[in-house]
């Protein structure tokens, strides 16, 4: 089983982000970057499939700046076998350009599965996985919450509104992973030490400009402090009054 996992370096969701002076990007100074949490499910699933099969290779691929090497090493520390960084000057705002870069690397490389997180927590685009599938002319199943692979075919469960959809597909295929698929392992200390010695190939790449341009980035408005109107049943009358007169929702 040869599995590719495409990963992205994103700002930690707990980091307080500042907008850079150009008004359309984030100021990276002091920001902590992590492996995109949805990609962690993809890495974990790939490792489990390989462990179950007892043989195979898990390759992590990222497109991004030189700093994404650290993100790749996080996945190597979890247990992936090798990494490829398609090194570019930043990421294009148009997901299709990222998808083209990844597809060129993955094409004809003999992967049985290509996994993505269902989305990146920085841009919320949900685009790159399905686009890569299209560019490689492979079947694509998104937001996979349960996965079985047997005899060259896969069965995936997707959580949809009010129920579960079960999908069958042939390999090779592109899947995007959702929360709940598994519980990603911590990179153990020995894994962190071993990651240094695993192969990490860097290939320079220059994605095209794409059709999109980010023209502005703004922070959400500051949230107002909440109000505690009292405790227990004594507070009900006041709460109802405020909901009616101030919030005007009753």
């Amino acid at each position: 089983m040869k599995i590719a996992v495409c990963i992205k370096r994103v700002p930690d969701s707990e980091t307080r982000v500042k907008i850079a002076s150009d008004g359309k990007s984030i100021d990276e100074a002091g920001v902590k970057f992590i492996l995109n949490p949805y990609d962690e499910f993809a890495v974990e699933e790939a490792l489990r499939l390989k462990e179950k099969a007892g043989t195979g290779e898990v390759v992590v691929v990222a497109l991004g700046s030189v700093a994404a090497q650290e993100t790749i090493r996080t996945a190597l520390a979890m247990g992936a076998d090798r990494g490829v960084l398609l090194q570019s000057q930043g990421l294009p705002p148009d997901g299709l350009e990222t998808a083209k870069g990844l597809a060129a690397e993955l094409k004809d490389a003999g992967f049985d599965l290509i996994l993505f997180g269902k989305m990146a927590i920085d841009d919320y685009n949900h685009q790159v996985g399905p686009m890569v599938a299209e560019l490689l002319d492979l079947p694509c199943v998104t937001t996979v919450a349960h996965l079985e692979i047997a005899g060259g075919r896969g069965t995936a469960e997707r959580e949809i509104e009010g129920g579960v959809e079960v999908v069958e597909f042939p390999l090779p295929a592109v899947l995007t992973t959702d929360k709940g698929l598994n519980e990603p392992r911590y990179p153990a200390l020995k894994g962190i030490m071993a990651a240094k010695k695993k192969p990490l190939e860097v290939k320079l790449t220059a994605p095209g400009p794409g059709a999109l341009e980010i023209i502005a980035l703004t922070l959400p408005p500051e949230r107002q402090a909440g109000k505690i109107v009292g405790e227990g049943s004594a507070a009900v009358a006041e709460l109802v009054r405020l909901l009616r007169e101030e919030a005007k929702v009753l």
């Binding site: 980091t15 090493r73 153990a188 200390l189 962190i192 030490m193």
Partner: protein, 395 residues
């Protein structure tokens, strides 16, 4: 999802760490957030060590992480090891103590003073958590003066017979193996002190938990009694020799404590800042009042100094240059300031500060033990006094 601890880093100390050192820190930090923080308050109140976490700690590789890979250890440098201790104690001093004892006081002496056969037999099982160890040096009447110990080991035809009692032994009742220090010669001969690996299921060995602790409640502390315990010849740590051997172990553990205390201080400071910003009194956040700002400024200053102290000590240790006296300075300073930070946080939190729901009072109570164990604050003062003047205050 559990709240993620963001650390305290006013001087970009992160920038002085390598990628691996940060990765190790982040792994342990997430583990503490997700697995320890949700349960620690309850375990503390109930006075239970969270035993169920041992396999996870082993899987992460937290035991003896700075010992070599050939015994299954992670082979980390001393800074990465220190960061592990920092993050564990950010959770709770008792959990850090558990890891300190296993790594620095049990695995280290086997590594440093054991035979190849002993190392191969014990270390891999201790890395995996299959065998938990404890360290028996302190006795009921010999704490700051361990050289006065009255536990004895008599050599016989087949091995050794041990008699004596040890007190304040972390992990004592949990352990499958105890490193016991005993005199093999006359009671006034500190040079006759040797170390023994004693399986705790030997006849004549008993461990009883010490009850009524108001500190380190999420940690097992026991009294060990050895009554004619017969161990084979190969229980002796062959390269142990005199009081300096257990003191070398203590230097390892104290090094980890210096880092651990920073973790406890960071946890309290983080809690203090968040409380000060959110708690309203007289119609505004208490963080806007000068008295609370002075508290927070002091805390941040002392934490930053302590972080830099640890880091340089770790770099020296990695170069083989750190002295026991330098370790004493760091243990003494960092535990002291951590206790102050915990106390000031407790006070800043007002009445809420006495609840187990918050961390400050738990850390404060724990740190009173940490202040006292592994060389009391006062003993470290005297070690430094001797280093400065060349005159010993001990004898």
């Amino acid at each position: 999802m559990a709240a993620k601890f963001q650390g305290v880093d006013f001087y970009d100390v992160d920038g002085l760490l390598s990628e691996e050192e940060r990765a190790v820190r982040d792994t342990v930090r997430s583990w503490v957030d997700e697995r320890l923080m949700p349960i620690i308050g309850e375990h503390y109140v109930e006075g239970r060590f969270p035993k169920q976490l041992i396999p996870q700690m082993a899987e992460l590789g937290l035991f003896g992480a700075n010992l070599p890979e050939e015994y299954g250890c992670a082979g980390l440098n001393n800074v990465a090891y220190g960061l592990i201790m920092q993050e564990l104690e950010r959770g709770d001093s008792g959990v850090r103590s558990f890891a300190s004892v296993q790594g620095a006081l049990v695995m280290y002496p086997i590594y440093a003073f054991g035979s190849d056969e002993q190392k191969r037999r014990w270390l891999p099982k201790m890395v995996s958590g299959e065998v938990i160890g404890c360290f028996g040096l302190t006795e009921p009447d010999y704490g700051s003066n361990p050289g006065g110990m009255i536990t004895v080991a008599k050599e016989t035809k087949d091995g050794w017979v041990l008699n004596g009692a040890k007190m304040w032994i972390t992990n004592g009742s949990t352990a499958q193996a105890a490193i016991v220090w005993a005199k093999t010669g006359k009671l006034d001969d500190v040079n006759s002190i040797r170390g023994f690996i004693v399986p705790t299921d030997m006849k004549g060995f008993s461990a009883k938990d010490q009850k009524g602790k108001l500190s380190l409640r999420a940690s097992d502390t026991s009294e060990l009694v050895l009554e004619d315990v017969c161990v084979p010849k190969d229980a002796l740590l062959p390269k142990s020799s005199g009081l300096k051997s257990p003191l070398m172990c203590l230097t390892q553990a104290r090094y980890g404590i210096a880092w651990g205390a920073v973790g406890a201080a960071m946890a309290c400071y983080d809690e203090a800042v968040s409380y000060a910003k959110n708690r309203l009194m007289f119609g505004r956040p208490i963080g806007g009042f000068q008295l609370q700002q002075a508290r927070l400024a002091e805390m941040l200053t002392e934490i930053t100094k302590a972080q830099l102290l640890c880091l340089q000590l770790g770099r020296l240790k990695d170069q083989g240059k750190a002295t026991p006296q330098q370790v004493s300075l760091a243990k003494r300073n960092n535990v002291n300031i951590a206790t102050d930070v915990a106390r000031e946080t407790r006070r800043l939190l007002g009445a809420n500060g006495i609840l187990a729901e918050y961390q400050a009072m738990r850390h404060l109570a724990n740190l009173e033990s940490v202040y006292t164990y592994e060389g009391t604050h006062d003993v470290h003062t005297l070690i430094l006094g001797q280093e400065i003047t060349g005159l010993s205050a001990f004898n």
